[in-house]
Symmetry: C2
Subunit: 116 residues, 2 copies
């Protein structure tokens, strides 16, 4: 039964791969990766993000200092032209993916939203 759902999911995957948002994201990601300074800065930023997310997921407390460090890093990377463009592209892609996810999980939301 669900084979059908999977087939449909693959058509969405293909659609995302062919979307303007994905093309732009790919372009900006590759531009950052091609610039050593931008790449290092971006990876550093990612590392901090992942570390904080892991702490959050495992219920560890995030210190004020860590929040401050993360905010500083965000402010820093946003000033870098290539990274700032990549982050814009990520934002636009994530809007599409968020919308897709909302559409797909609608049947569940409807079910659990009733008689709740």
């Amino acid at each position: 039964m669900s084979v059908n759902v999977y087939d449909l999911a693959y058509t969405v995957e293909k659609g995302i791969r062919e979307s303007a948002e994905y093309a732009e994201l790919k372009k900006q990601y590759e531009a950052v990766m091609a610039d050593e300074n931008a790449r290092t800065m971006f990876h550093n930023f990612r590392d901090i993000q992942v570390k904080l997310q892991e702490k959050q997921m495992t219920g560890q407390e995030i210190t004020d200092e860590e929040v401050l460090q993360a905010q500083k890093t965000v402010a820093l990377v946003q000033q870098h032209d290539l990274i700032s463009k990549l982050m814009d592209a990520e934002q636009r892609m994530s809007v599409v993916l968020g919308d897709v996810n909302r559409i797909i999980t609608k049947p569940l939301e409807e079910l659990y939203g009733t008689q709740g």
Copy 2:
């Protein structure tokens, strides 16, 4: 461009709505809701889950006592025939949704997995 992606997402939504997993989930959910004892137990269980998730998301510490209480509640609801069937149906539906999500986010994973 993304209009196309949204159209495709709606076909997945329809596919999920028509899947055997969703039909089974709906059936089991309605059976729980129709039984006052099961419904109360299920809502109680949900409340505890949501509370713990909120704490986790906002970085608040979850006490050992809360973990223990949650485990006890899970053990209790699992013994209830109707709820246990609902949880099985939820599990099977969540496998489908997880697979769909993995398929759809593959282009992103590929992009960020390279040169990483």
